[in-house]
Subunit: 303 residues, 2 copies
């Protein structure tokens, strides 16, 4: 097995927005820059959402402005609507991400409208982004399970993924928001989605709430997915299971990929050092097992 | 996918022996009995090793004696030699486990003799066990990686597994002692071993040091293995990476298996409650992510 796998670092956004402690702009900028230094080529750096609801993402415009542009590296930000996109454009964002749920119950409770309505509302956002030459990534949440409706059929997730792709998203990230899904369900999901849109346009986004994330990454990899989202030190949490694990850890994903002979271009020991540092700064345990093992071994001995 | 998968609970032995704090006999007996109450049908309850080297396993004879016999449940103990077997027999053990390494360097450094010598020394142990009607399980350690010699060829692990099987072990547990191995290597290992001995005689024993354990369980499952060792709350540690993760957590393995439609006969929420309690008693974080998620959700809501 070999080839290249793209790792999208979402720690500074999906990770930090679910941590109880908010970091100031300077710390967020430094973290993103250090992550780019490890070889990561796509880093989600902020979210243009209301600071009343998500104080951890306040001043994302300032974060993106300070980051500026870096050849070969993409800094993206989440935008929930037209207003968010305009703020992202004003901050010079080259890429944004929009989102929809694969579960009707989740869509209603989380964003207060149907899946169809949420997709319709993104149409002008995608049109403006296209006009301004900004790439758009699409997230589909609850692709395997919904906290309100139980297991989600792969057809439902596939329909939403296809619609976001047709609307112009260049890549669709399939999110197991609850982190309950198992690798067989992941494989079925990917197979189903691959009938509707190109495999190369799919990304896997797994949360580790029930310890399935690395196995799900592997199952998606076996099914042909070559892009995965992850957070250094497994930053983040599951808002639907307080105290539970967050995103799959970048270090664990890199250990898996490198161990299987895939190239990522990312320096695992360097990410592990950043994971140790950010965990200390946030006063939380390092949720990456590879990160802890590397730290215990001195960080250098198990590349 | 469906069928039955056997989960061998090794927390009271492989887990506790790697925890800094030793538990008294009464607590160990209570833990094993509570584990049996959850539906687990094979529990490794002690080790007849020197209490100078492994104080956590002191008085294992007393633990086994107090446990006595329980219809349908097997309590086993590790024995390093003839003397250990005799102590196990005296305590009424119905099953013991012996061990060898797949790595020559590890065998030399860990038990101070070659693999061939270690297997030869177990011959009279297996002969006496057979004579006394005691079943013997065999562990092979370092099946994927060795802390001193790097990656281990599947042929080496397969040879040792086959030899233990020929010597009379009814089941061979393949141990990724270092927890560095990836699912592709696990699949290759199982395929290789299955050419030498029956698949039904193989068990998977994965440590979660680098976060690969659940993915490796899944890979072994895909390759046909139907028996897995695990520790409640992911008890244990990796003696070669201080501070790193221990055995794969029973709760996470059960979540994987049940989610994929396999039957185990084990009550996951009940194991999760024991995992929470033992973690508190030992003053350590609960290393099972499914266990933490279930505890956060109240323990009952996500069966």
């Amino acid at each position: 097995m070999s080839g290249f796998v793209k790792v999208v670092e979402v720690g500074p956004r999906d990770g930090l927005q679910n941590e109880p402690q908010a970091l100031p702009v300077a710390a967020r900028v430094e973290l993103v820059e250090q992550l780019a230094d490890t070889g990561l080529r796509h880093i989600e750096a902020g979210a243009f959402v209301s600071p009343r609801w998500v104080p951890q993402m306040a001043d994302s415009g300032e974060v993106l402005r300070r980051l500026g542009r870096r050849p070969g590296v993409r800094f993206s930000a989440l935008v929930p609507n037209q207003q968010g996109l305009e703020a992202a454009l004003a901050a010079g964002c080259e890429e944004v991400a929009v989102f929809a749920a694969a579960s009707e119950a989740f869509s209603q409770r989380n964003i207060n409208c149907s899946i169809a309505d949420s997709l319709r509302r993104f149409e002008p956002v995608l049109a403006l982004a296209r006009e301004r030459g900004v790439r758009v990534r699409g997230y589909v949440s609850c692709v395997l399970d919904c906290p309100y409706g139980g297991p989600v059929a792969p057809q439902r997730a596939g329909e939403v993924a296809q619609r976001l792709y047709e609307l112009g998203c260049y890549e669709i990230s399939l999110g197991d928001t609850l982190g309950k899904g198992t690798p067989d369900a992941t494989a079925r999901l990917v197979e189903h989605c691959a009938e509707r849109l190109p495999l190369a346009a799919l990304a896997g986004h797994f949360h580790d709430t029930f310890g399935m994330a690395v196995a799900n990454v592997h199952a998606a990899l076996q099914a042909g997915v070559r892009t995965f989202d992850s957070s250094l030190a497994g930053l983040g949490g599951c808002p639907y299971s307080p105290g539970a694990s967050g995103n799959v850890a970048t270090e664990d994903v890199l250990h898996l990929l490198h161990g299987m002979g895939y190239a990522t271009g990312v320096d695992l020991p360097a990410v592990a050092r950043l994971g140790t540092a950010i965990s200390q700064r946030l006063g939380r345990p390092n949720a990456s097992r590879a990160g802890r093992a590397l730290a215990a071994a001195g960080g250098e001995r198990h590349p």
